[in-house]
């Protein structure tokens, strides 16, 4: 067979760091006209090359992929070769991209809505016309804070510059204050105030350190389905002798593979954790030395006001970087035993008493945080928790003793489980107190937080693209989750991804809000539900297409990953970078942006930490688009030095901003709807949660033909007891309803489901349901106290009751 290497393909494959195979065509030509429409040069269709990209769909995996392109088409995907070969892996979703890239649902050109919203009537328009529509709308509304930029999770290029350059609002789940999205922030609210971290409660230790764990407790986390890339480390830990105990209402895969499954009533994890705290205090299983040295437990509380006692403000210092004066925070007070008086916590040689109540020389009655905890914990006996959790008190005692007397021990929570209830801040707060009591924070194999990988290790080593300081985003006054309900300035939405389905509960309210807006734009490769609800759709590329030699880049699992050039943009799609650039040009601010993604990425690297020094787009391309950051080969463990980003530098476990809600230390509150005492239980007896499944990443892959080859599609899973009571058999279409709305979907009767609960994995598009949308029934009510916490209120999607009946 002869091979003709065209110059173009040679350059292209070289640019992608490719291993050029240079073999002639086997004569396979597509009969598919819509693919041929965008064929890239007929004469070059006879070669095969290897190129590299990564999967950024936000399961936490971020797998680097080795792709084979033949005859101009993506034909094979394999795990790439990482410097650390443990990460050379992928899952069914990454492999399924071979079909999804060419999906019939790809949006091929910009389109504007010509019929009723959601009616599916569109007119193809040019990019120029589309951009002009956005500019015209901004002229009409005044631009600035009337524009809201929303970016779906998993997007590595959520318009990093445009919102600042035009003064628009931008929602982000880690944003401080009211502009958070209300997603994946509940547990973080409870944890990060104590640690000073900014990771929404992510576990302080890398999953690879779990081989050091003696005990691993996991609440509402199904990592063997939702974090498939970490599954090997779960088994490594188990094989190394860790006792893994999973708490879940339902018999998840992770529950099945653990050493032990504890069936627990939904939305009661916090009750279990509170009982654990009580038992640890009662049995003195806590680490006193650790608490005195590393936590706020010895800090003094004014018993009258509940406020922490503080010393005098120290002298101002100067920030060496900016030259500006900085005011260090006032020290806290502890009771020094030798002096028998309150002293600043950072006084040299002072050792605060852990326990006790005292009167200061000024006559103020004070008590330590620890003593206060002893008091607030009084009601939370194992017998009390047994009533709520339906876990026997004996089991609670047994597991608590195992956890508290085995070191190191890890306490894991789930963003896709525990987090989605209105009580998740309390759950997180109780968890970090448990980790602190047992001295498990800052310890390899220990930790208390969200079981999640992609926040730790060398992540965050990248810098940012510089934008002049005079450009600032608009401040949002209304929580993202309440945008459809409360007056706010938003008139134009620029939504990257499927935000309008996924990022708001109670779909009907979202839809009503959209009708009040000037222009709703969705930017996505696929005709998602969000796109369907929009006025204007802009087609963007997948992670397998770039305009130039590279696309986005990210830092993950101690490595830097690059999206190399696999395919040219399909149809008329453009990358998110290119779209941002064209929008910026239309607003006259494009001079502040990079020329291309290579320049952008190189800036992020050169402005990054020393861990990424020496890495450039060029070196990445030479190394199959994955390079190890300059970090130790031992697992990353946060706070090994027992230093925390809090005002005192210690684990601050007492939350003054929650005094008015009686949550300065965690106290039991019931979930909104998913509690046994809610009167809605009479009409809607079933608690409805929407966990993640192995088949989807949020709503992505809902339209994947290959995923549909290996799964049953959307199903409402119901226990055999509840199915029998309703005369339901597997395959029956059911009506799922509550006062907010309803939808129809086939059901599956399953012994894995706890009686009184129903589950359906989140994200399925309405198109795959028999009727309606899952979000028609979800709870959009939020809890005021959380507005005071680090990431504001959480959307309590699972805090939802329904009734299910034969449709």
């Amino acid at each position: 067979m002869s091979s003709t290497l065209s110059r173009r393909n040679f350059i292209k494959s070289g640019a992608a760091g490719a291993a050029f195979l240079g073999l002639a065509s086997t004569g396979m030509l597509s009969a598919c006209s819509w693919i041929e429409q965008q064929a890239v040069g007929e004469e070059e269709q006879s070669e095969e090359y290897t190129a590299y990209t990564y999967h950024s769909v936000n399961c936490g995996g971020r797998c680097s992929l080795k792709c084979t392109v033949r005859d101009g088409k993506l034909v094979n995907i394999e795990p790439n070769d990482w410097p650390d070969s443990r990460y050379s892996l992928c899952c069914l979703k990454g492999l399924s991209e071979i079909e999804r890239v060419y999906s019939a649902d790809r949006i091929q050109t910009p389109m504007k809505r010509v019929g009723e919203r959601g009616a599916g009537q569109w007119e193809a328009i040019s990019w120029d016309e589309a951009i002009q529509m956005i500019v015209d709308a901004a002229d009409k509304t005044g631009g600035k804070d009337s524009i809201l930029c929303i970016g779906s999770s998993g997007l590595d290029y959520k318009f990093p510059s445009l919102p600042r350059l035009i003064g628009a609002q931008q929602s982000h789940f880690l944003a401080k204050g009211i502009v958070g999205t209300g997603i994946d922030n509940g547990i973080g609210n409870g944890i990060d105030q104590a640690t000073g971290d900014g990771t929404s409660g992510a576990m302080q230790t890398e999953v690879t350190s779990w081989v050091d764990s003696k005990v691993i407790l996991m609440f509402g986390n199904n990592m063997l389905e939702t974090g498939i890339g970490d599954s090997q480390f779960f088994f490594d830990a188990k094989e190394a002798g860790a006792q893994i105990i999973v708490f879940d209402p339902n018999y998840s895969v992770t529950a099945a593979k653990a050493n032990r499954w504890i069936p627990i009533e939904a939305a009661t994890d916090h009750a279990f954790l509170l009982a654990m705290i009580s038992l640890i205090l009662e049995n003195k299983w806590y680490n006193e030395e650790y608490l005195v040295k590393n936590t706020s437990m010895p800090f003094l509380i004014d018993t009258k006001t509940g406020k922490l006692l503080r010393g005098a403000l120290p002298a101002q210092t100067t920030d060496p970087a900016t030259g500006k004066p900085v005011q260090p925070p006032a020290p806290f007070k502890v009771w020094d035993a030798t002096a028998n008086a309150p002293v600043d916590h950072n006084t040299a040689g002072a050792i605060g008493l852990l326990e006790g109540s005292f009167k200061t020389p000024d006559g103020v009655a004070v008590t330590t945080v620890f003593s206060q905890l002893l008091k607030t914990q009084e009601p939370y006996s194992p017998e009390w928790a047994a009533e709520i959790t339906h876990v026997p008190a004996e089991t609670i005692k047994e597991i608590t003793e195992l956890y508290a007397t085995s070191h190191p021990a890890l306490l894991g929570l789930g963003w896709g489980g525990t987090d989605k209830y209105a009580i998740s801040d309390v759950t997180g707060h109780a968890a970090i107190i448990l980790g602190s009591l047992t001295g498990n924070i800052g310890v390899s194999g220990g930790g208390a937080g969200v079981v999640n990988h992609h926040f730790l290790a060398a992540n965050g080593g990248l810098g940012a693209w510089p934008i002049p300081a005079e450009f600032v985003k608009a401040e949002t006054k209304v929580h993202n989750g309440y945008l459809p309900l409360q007056d706010n300035p938003t008139k134009i939405i620029l939504c990257q991804g499927n935000g309008l389905q996924q990022m708001f509960a109670w779909q009907q309210k979202t839809n009503e809000w959209l009708d009040t807006l000037e222009l709703v734009v969705t930017i996505d490769p696929f005709m998602t539900p969000s796109a369907e609800l929009s006025d204007l759709i802009l087609p963007t590329t997948t992670n397998f297409e770039t305009e130039g030699k590279c696309g986005t880049m990210l830092s993950n699992r101690n490595h830097i990953l690059l999206q190399g050039h696999v395919l040219d943009p399909l149809f008329e799609s453009k990358s998110d970078f290119q779209i941002e650039k064209e929008l910026a040009a239309a607003f006259g601010v494009d001079k502040y942006l990079a020329a291309d993604m290579a320049e952008y990425n190189n800036k992020l690297l050169s402005a990054g930490k020393p861990t990424v020094a020496g890495i450039t787009v060029e070196t990445l391309l030479e190394n199959q688009c994955v390079q190890r950051a300059k970090v130790p080969t031992t697992p990353a463990v946060g706070h090994l030095d027992q230093k925390y980003g809090t005002p005192s530098g210690k684990l601050e476990l007492y939350y003054e901003n929650q005094i008015e809600y009686d949550q300065a230390l965690p106290t039991y509150v019931e979930a909104l709807e998913a509690n046994a005492n809610n009167p809605l239980a009479a009409n809607y007896p079933l608690k409805f949660s929407q966990p993640h499944s192995r088949f989807l990443v949020h709503s992505q892959f809902s339209n994947s033909q290959w995923i549909h080859q290996v799964c049953d599609g959307p199903r409402m899973s119901i226990s055999s007891a509840d199915a029998q009571a309703r005369g339901l058999s597997t395959g029956d279409v059911v009506l799922v309803r509550n006062d907010r709305g309803n939808f129809k979907v086939p059901c599956t009767v399953s012994e894995s489901i706890r009686p009184g609960h129903v589950i359906m994995s989140e994200g399925w598009w309405p198109a795959q349901l028999v009727d309606g949308s899952l979000q028609n029934v979800t709870n959009n009510q939020m809890v005021e106290r959380q507005a005071k916490l680090k990431y504001s209120m959480v959307i309590a999607y699972y805090d939802t009751r329904v009734e299910v009946e034969k449709a």
Binding site: T26, N76, L92, I228, S750, E751
Partner: protein, 205 residues
Amino acid sequence: MTKYGMVINLNRCIGCKTCVVACKMQNNVPMDMLWNRVINAGARSYDDAVGSYPNLIKQYTPVACQHCENPPCQAVCPVGATHTDEFGRVLIDYDVCIGCRICMAACPYNARVFNWSEPVRVPDFDYGQKEVAVRPVGVVEKCTLCAERTSEGKDPMCVSACPSRARTYGDLDDPESAISLLIRDAKPEHLLPEKGTSPKIYYIT
């Protein structure tokens, strides 16, 4: 001699079906056909469990051709299309297969699939490794232990892709190979040992 085989550690299998999709892509398997499946034995549906809540068991088992030492499919093939190659792999010569499907009835593992009609591929072009033969209508096909990959020194695609590292592939005739050591230490079992097929695929349970 070299004799290829595989050990699948069911304790590590999470039922994710990555191996199912990996096999489909590598081998250009059309829609509605799979060479490799994962079953949840005894359960009524894939995410169900055996038993009554909360006393439950869930065990996923990937099943493809077991590459038997005594392959019943080979014994019944009237034209010799199914054969065992020099590496112990049970393979099908698509040019010889007459599509009688007796082998499918003979296989106790239901590992074989048949091309009833013109294959439908989505996307509609040949994917996977280009050396993999495109099968015509009217022949039986199944797992080849990724003969085309392994001949390049790679592991089969299901092994390379398995995220929980449940699979080990190698030479059963080499007493020092990782797979031989694993078989010696972990004492894995065969599927349906009572059938006397003596597979080269082993399962740790």
